[in-house]
Symmetry: C2
Subunit: 224 residues, 2 copies
């Protein structure tokens, strides 16, 4: 089982202090929902974000990159054979537990609606199955409470390694990937385990996930 | 160089015969553009599609799955090292030539706008570089005119194979993947080369691309 933990993901509702921005009002109108139930999305709110949090509009409010990541993971062959577990820890110390059977909407607008629904209800269920669940937890508490083993952090500042070395050859492996488009982890990860850098340039989070997944599949003979 | 050819991709503008559907009018209003310049998108127009083309609303008008595919390919390490070429052939026998430097918008709405712009102008350029270009060609004419070698078709009805066997060990390899979410190729591919099936169940097009890309990277020592 490969456990993927997305850390410090930039997924949050529109913060109260942004509700009065002109951007926010037109976003709410376009989405036909109140701001209190909408995801922060820098594609629409980057002026509002930069006004309140200077320089953060590229990083904060990135449901788009989480959508690409979830499509990569949930549709992977590793997930289809039941050997992938996925958790998403957010900047606000919430953790989303993703059921392996959860089918991610291909449409970004539907995906946003689903995640907003989860923020409101804390759980998305269908036919008795919990597809998504959101709990309150720091990254460290979550990893330790689940007894995750062989934790390996993928980080641009880690030790230069092949992906095979970074994933390791243990059957039960935990790979931590940052859930943001630029900058560094907000959580202090020094106690978690070794840090590995698999490529000298910045990679998107779905590219890192794809490399980790394909490597695990090949190291364990699932695909070849 | 791995050449990826997406065949029979379900990417087209809203057909004229759908312009009078109620769905189409509200789609045009939401997008604030005339229907003649908008992509067919089954997420918004599935009633209109099913009314005119019964049963086709899941297949036709799928810019969403092409978006996921382009994000996977363009952000891959194989593309970053200059060893991936990508062409998208559509159901209307147009071929989109994707420059390796083209950065795909993360936002689906911006992506749709970019592709619509390309349908209008046939070329998207920036700083003297042609990022996207659309030409008229059948799949077969395109593949033969480019002198593509070692053409391998990935198809659910092909010979059961490992991905390594399907990709093959030649440096210059061409992999053809269907650009649709269900059903079969519309183009007759029998003359193209061997057909391979890498997994017994249906896979999304970005999952197939990710497997082909990661396999090529590993077969040629680009990643390990």
């Amino acid at each position: 089982m490969l456990t993927l933990v997305i850390a410090d993901a930039e997924l949050e509702l529109v913060p109260k202090e942004l509700w009065n921005a002109p951007d926010s009002k037109s976003y709410s109108k376009r989405r036909t929902k109140p701001l209190s139930s909408l995801l922060l999305d820098s594609n629409y709110l980057h002026h509002a974000i930069d006004a309140k949090y200077p320089g953060e509009s590229k990083r904060r409010g990135r449901p788009d990159i989480l959508h690409a990541l979830l499509l990569t993971c949930q549709e992977s062959i590793l997930n289809k054979v039941g050997q992938l577990e996925l958790f998403i820890h957010t900047r606000e110390d919430k953790v989303i537990i993703v059921n392996r059977e959860t089918r991610i909407p291909r449409s970004f607008n539907r995906f946003s609606g689903l995640i907003e629904d989860m923020f409101a209800k804390r759980k998305i269920q269908s036919g008795g199955v919990t597809l998504l669940e959101m709990i309150d937890s720091t990254l460290m508490d979550f990893i330790f409470s689940r007894g995750m083993k062989n934790v390996r952090v993928f980080s641009p500042t880690g030790k230069k390694s092949t992906v095979s070395e970074a994933v390791g050859d243990e059957i039960a492996t935990t790979v931590v990937i940052g859930g943001f488009s630029e900058g560094d982890f907000r959580t202090k990860l020094d106690d978690l385990g070794k840090q590995y850098s698999i490529y000298p340039e910045e990679l998107t989070i779905w590219t890192v996930a794809m490399e980790a997944i394909c490597t695990y599949e090949r190291l364990h003979g699932i695909m070849q």
